[in-house]
Symmetry: C2
């Protein structure tokens, strides 16, 4: 593995969209007792369900700690690969490399700086050095060269691309004070253009209400195909999310993408507000003397936080009346993919969802 | 990865000889401060030299702890793969899987029990659970099925095979009280036949004087080709090794192998006795309140402890007058391989040599 100090865009590399073909998917086994209630026993079941759903159409590798290996090996089917690697938690989207490819199909990784979504300013845990070292080690494992971008704080959940020159991000996240406070919006946009191989960045104002990542874009919207965005939506004007989604819609309706297309938007309904229960909070240990969550806290539930595998849309189920409606909408959009709904409450309690705990490796076919 | 409870031999698998083609080699980065003097800085240099020598003709993967990764990545060239995996020390020969293959060329691993060369009876460190878990995890990483043989204590350095039905072992090691004391010699031989795909086991009485592994066979002799064994030898009748090598020679001269061939023996001279120095001992931290070595202790130095890579014989150099003589003998035997001599004193201080810190993955071509 070579550690590269140039930039992907200059070298002819770009990030393919998630709906393009993958050679596989990475996940990280949940173990942290302040993130995952009751020693992560419920989260593990949900993670295993996600892994098995994705593995129906692509290779899945799950990373675990030394201590977690035996349990992971037992709970995951034989065709899931389990590999030891130290981490601080289980957010593969944010700590795995972002993969870029060139016109020959050669793959390289980007090793962003990771500081637990805000570092000492408003990050969610400390330390985060194990997470921050994963991307490079994953590239080493895969034998692909890696771009050293550790000086730029970024997470995979903070951007989406259409694979044709456009990225979508949120100002709430990328301009947050805990990431790259010394950089202007223009500096950050330039950095994204140099690393993701995009020529145009769409800046949404915000994401999902109470999203602890400073409102990652991957919880509020995603690309369905070039020129077509799926946006989390509520019609409940009393919900703070209504105004947030509306402001995003307004931006999207007035934007064009890198190829000059206007953006078609499909609204994906949200579940009714989801609150963490007393019992769930009782299952979480404190972090640094503080409870991670308090009973009644609202969780950032959104159906948009799904993973596009080669053969399926692996999406969250919240046991809400909109579960089937959301599935039907996605079924209608992704006609060649199976819709697999996973009970995701025990992922959501940890602070994210299915897209957050997965990272695709592009290539193949 | 499937965990198999049958036996390789019954399934049509056998262990190929080391001189057959490899797809790669595994090593483990030295880090233990009670094994490797002065915080392993010298050992790392020697391990890197070995990795680079082997990597001239086959892929090398070096496992490290989380803490060791950055140093390993820096000291090892780009084309060496560095992968995190927990271990207790650095003896890849003994803790990696033994690989077997079938007539289709499919590879499987054997996950032996490992107890640090004698467990609580006369093992060399405690605990050894990280080591004992490596073989299975390596098979998982490679996506090859693994035989669960953890109930049988065995190390890769405790046997050699000719790839044509014969294994060589030592009684001193295999019948030692710290390994499988409940098993008879016949039980152990049966187990080897069932796992290595051999039909005949040659039992040498002993190995190298003061060899802490209870005299592993890979320090006293090795196969050069079917029917041809290289034996560590000294002409110094005052040296306790003389009688030990002589007894081994006597067995070999009266043995036939699985194919009915008598054994041709090439004597490989040993270096003059090597003793650990005061300064070297000062660089080792105590283990459990006891010094690992005392100044003047004899080290189990032997040229036989070399690795056969696809393109080379990677052999120890002791800065002894027999260095070149031993190299010439091996050059004459392995005519199609380069002879690469590595200054191995800093591996020897840890208790083994080049063969002990490597494990080949058979297959290819």
């Amino acid at each position: 593995m070579k550690i590269l100090h140039s930039t992907p865009t200059k070298d002819g590399y770009f990030m393919p969209a998630e709906y393009e073909h993958h050679t596989g998917c990475f996940m990280i086994w949940p173990e942290r007792a302040d993130s995952w209630q009751y020693g992560a026993v419920y989260a593990r079941k949900a993670f295993a369900d996600v892994a098995h759903a994705i593995a129906k159409s692509e290779k899945v590798t799950v990373f675990t700690s030394f201590e977690g290996y035996d349990t992971a090996r037992k709970m995951l089917k034989d065709h899931i690969r389990v590999v030891e690697m130290s981490s601080d938690d289980s957010w593969a989207r944010d700590v795995m490399p972002t993969f870029v490819k060139n016109s020959d199909g050669t793959i390289r990784g980007i090793d962003w700086g990771f500081n637990a979504w805000g570092g000492l300013y408003d990050g969610l845990y400390f330390p985060w050095d194990r997470d921050n070292r994963m991307a490079r080690k994953v590239c080493d494992l895969l034998e692909v060269d890696v771009y050293d971008k550790r000086s730029f704080v970024m997470e995979g959940g903070a951007f989406h691309v259409d694979g044709q020159g456009t990225a979508i991000v949120t100002e709430a996240c990328l301009l947050s004070k805990g990431r790259n406070p010394h950089m202007t919006k223009q500096d950050i946009e330039m950095e994204l253009k140099q690393t993701l191989g995009v020529t145009h960045v769409i800046w949404l104002p915000c994401g999902i209400y109470e999203d602890e990542t400073n409102e990652h874009v991957d919880n509020i919207c995603t690309y369905a195909e070039p020129g077509h965005v799926i946006l989390a939506w509520t019609d409940d004007r009393e919900d703070p999310q209504y105004e947030m989604s509306r402001r995003c819609l307004e931006v999207l309706e007035h934007e064009t993408d890198a190829r000059g297309r206007s953006i078609r938007v499909t609204k994906l309904p949200m579940p009714a507000p989801v609150y963490v229960t007393e019992d769930e909070c009782s299952g979480l240990i404190d972090f640094d003397g503080e409870p991670t969550r308090k009973a009644g806290d609202r969780l950032a539930a959104s159906y948009v936080n799904f993973y596009i595998s080669n053969g399926a849309i692996v999406m969250p189920r919240f046991n809400d009346e909109n579960d089937d409606k959301a599935a039907d909408i996605l079924r209608n959009i992704f006609k060649n993919r199976e819709i697999i709904q996973i009970d995701a409450r025990n992922i959501l309690i940890g602070g994210g969802n299915i897209h957050c705990i997965t990272q695709q490796i592009p290539g193949g076919r």
